[in-house]
Symmetry: C2
C-alpha cells in the first residue's frame, strides 16, 4: 500500500510519452496527486501545478512517485539528488522502474536514516497463497485480450470510471506496475512465482458485497505464447462473472512474435469463457473493447458496428466512445 497523495516526479523527461505513468495517475486518480515535480530540461507536462518538495509536503503529499521512464535503464546522478532530498524531506518513494530503488545504496541509506519507505512495485511484497478455488462473494469482471497491449488496462480504468458515475460499486484491481502506481496497491502478477499466480489473484479480489464489482486488470493473452500462463491464472484465480474482450484491429502479428497471427475475437471469446466457467459456471462475455487509435473516426465507428453485429455484444472504444455501454451491460449481470 503506497501512501497517497503523491507528488509526481517527471524528472528530465525527453517527451510527453516518457511520462505516461504520471499521465495515467493524473487521468484516472487526480485526487491521488497534489502536483508535479519537473527538473531542468523536462519536456513533459501532465497539467498539474509545478511544486518544490517543500510546497508538495505542505500540500499534504506523502510519496514521491517516479512517473517517468528513465533513459538508459539507470538512475542518473541528477535524479538521485532529488530522490535523496525527497527522503530527507520525509517522503516515501515509489517506482515501477526495472532497476530497483532498493539497489541504490544512497537511497537505501537515506531511507533508513529518515524513516522513509522505498516501494519498488515490480517486486511482490506479500506471501501469496496457493489458489483454493473457493467461490467468493461479490462480482468480478476481467479484461482479456486477443494480444498483449491491446488496451486492457485502459478499458478497465474507463469501465471503473463509468460504473462509479452510474453509482455502481466498483474497485479497479491492478495487476501491473502502472496500475499499481495509479491506485497505490495491487499485485505485480508477472513477477509472482508460478505456483502462486492464481492465489495472488484470489488474494487481490477478496470477498465483497454482493453488488460490488472488482474490475481486474488483464495481462497478456491466452494466445500469446510468452505470457499465456499469466492470463490463464487471471481467469482461474479471478473467477470472473463477466469478461470484456479487448482487441486492436490493425495489428499484423502478436506483439513481439513475428509469424504468430492474432486469434479472432470469437476464438478468444469461446476459449476464455470455457476456462472461466471452470471456476465460475455463470460467467458470460459482457462486451468488446476495440482500441481504434490507428483508425479514423469513420473507420472506428464502422469497425465497432461490424463487430457488434457479428457477435451480438456491445462493442466500443472506451477512449473514443466512453465505457458506458460496457457498464450498462454489467448492470444487467
Amino acid at each position: 500500500m503506497i501512501e497517497t497523495p503523491y507528488l509526481l516526479f517527471l524528472g528530465d523527461a525527453p517527451d510527453q510519452l516518457a511520462a505516461k505513468v504520471a499521465q495515467g495517475i493524473k487521468d484516472w486518480r487526480p485526487e491521488n496527486a497534489v502536483g508535479q515535480f519537473r527538473m531542468a530540461g523536462c519536456k513533459a507536462d501532465v497539467g498539474l501545478q509545478d511544486m518544490t518538495l517543500q510546497e508538495a509536503k505542505a500540500a499534504g503529499a506523502r510519496t514521491l512517485v517516479i512517473g517517468v521512464a528513465n533513459r538508459g535503464g539507470y538512475i542518473s546522478k541528477e535524479w538521485r539528488k532529488v530522490l535523496v532530498e525527497a527522503l530527507e524531506a520525509g517522503f516515501d518513494l515509489a517506482s515501477g522502474l526495472h532497476n530497483l530503488l532498493r539497489d541504490e545504496s544512497e537511497l537505501m541509506a537515506a531511507a533508513q536514516v529518515h524513516g522513509g519507505t522505498l516501494h519498488d512495485v515490480r517486486v511482490p511484497t506479500d506471501a501469496y497463497p496457493i489458489a483454493n478455488g473457493v467461490k467468493r462473494t461479490g462480482k468480478r469482471v476481467l479484461a482479456v485480450g486477443t494480444d498483449c497491449s491491446a488496451g486492457k488496462m485502459y478499458t478497465a480504468l474507463a469501465l471503473d470510471a463509468s460504473m462509479r458515475e452510474r453509482g455502481m460499486k466498483s474497485t479497479f484491481r491492478a495487476t501491473g506496475q502502472t496500475g499499481i502506481l495509479i491506485t497505490g496497491h495491487g499485485v505485480p502478477l508477472d513477477a509472482v512465482i508460478a505456483d502462486f499466480m492464481a492465489g495472488a489473484v484470489e488474494y487481490l479480489t477478496p470477498d465483497n458485497a454482493a453488488d460490488h464489482w472488482d474490475i481486474i486488470e488483464g495481462q497478456g493473452s491466452l494466445f500469446h505464447v510468452s505470457y499465456s500462463g499469466v492470463t490463464l491464472a487471471l481467469i482461474h484465480g479471478g473467477q470472473p462473472d463477466a469478461l470484456i474482450i479487448c482487441h486492436e484491429p490493425t495489428r499484423q502479428h502478436m506483439r513481439g512474435l513475428p509469424g504468430y497471427k492474432l486469434p479472432s475475437i470469437e476464438a478468444v471469446r469461446d476459449t476464455s469463457l470455457q476456462f472461466a466457467r471452470v471456476a465460475n459456471p455463470a460467467c458470460q462475455v459482457a462486451g468488446v473493447s476495440i482500441n481504434t487509435q490507428h483508425l479514423s473516426d469513420a473507420e472506428a465507428t464502422a469497425y465497432c458496428a461490424e463487430v457488434e453485429a457479428r457477435l451480438g455484444l456491445p462493442t466500443i472504444d472506451p477512449f473514443r466512445h466512453g465505457a458506458d455501454r460496457l457498464a450498462e451491460a454489467l448492470e444487467n449481470i
Copy 2:
C-alpha cells in the same frame, strides 16, 4: 547440473513411501546411484547396496542426494551430522526439500570450507529468457493431465525407457523436483517467475537432431484452477509435436479442490490441442495414459479398452502394460 553418480540418503525414513525420490532414481536411472545410505531406524530399502560415505566415495559417488522426505519439515540434528560429514568427505549435496540446504548455516559453512556445492532443486538456478516462440528443430512430446498427480512424470519416464529400448533418440526433460533429482538437471517450473515460465521451457528443450524426441514432464492441468497457468506455459513453451493425455479414473474431484469435477479426457484433448497448435500447428494427440492403481487387472484392461475405442487412440497404463504402444505411436509422427 548435479554431478553423478549419487549416494542415495534414506536417513531414518519411517516407511518405504517416504523414500520415493530415492526409489525413482533407482527405478529410472540406476546408473546414477552407486548405493544407499541408511541411518539407525530406517524403514526404507530401495534395494541398493548399503554403503558408508567412504565406501561410496571409493565407488565413485560425487553427490549425496536426499532421497527421502523429512519429518516435520526441518533437517534434524541426526541428518545434519551426516550431511556435514558428507561435505567433509568431498561430496556435493542435492535436495528437493521445502526447507533449503542453503538456509542451514552449518551446511553452508562446511560447503565453503570443503568446496562442496549445495543443490536445492526447488530454486531455479538460471536466468531464463522471455519465450520468443521461434520454432526449434527436433521433436517434443508433452504429458498433459485431466488433473494434478495423474501419472505424468511416471508416463514420461516410462515412455523415455521404451523409446530408448526401441533405439529411438530421446531425453526426459524434468520440470519438477523429483524429476530433476532423478536425471540431475531440469527446470523447477513451479518456482519460476511468471513472466519467464514459457521461456524456461524453451530453454529446457533446445534445438536438437530432427529425429530426437524431448519428453517433457508435465505439471498441473489446464483445468486445475491453482496451477493451470504453469500447464499452459508448458504447452506454449514446449511447442509439442505430440501430446499424451494422463488420467486417473477413480478420482472424485480435482486434487485439493473439493467441488471441482474432473474434465473429460475429450475436453483435455481438444483444449490442449487447440493451444498446442498455436505454437506448433502440426501437433497431434498420440495416446492416453491411464493410472489404474486403484483398479483390478480386469477393470484396468476394460477401462483402457473402452477409452481406446471411444477416442481411437492407443490407451495404456505404463505401470501395468509398459509404454511401448505410446513409443510406437511416436515413431509414426
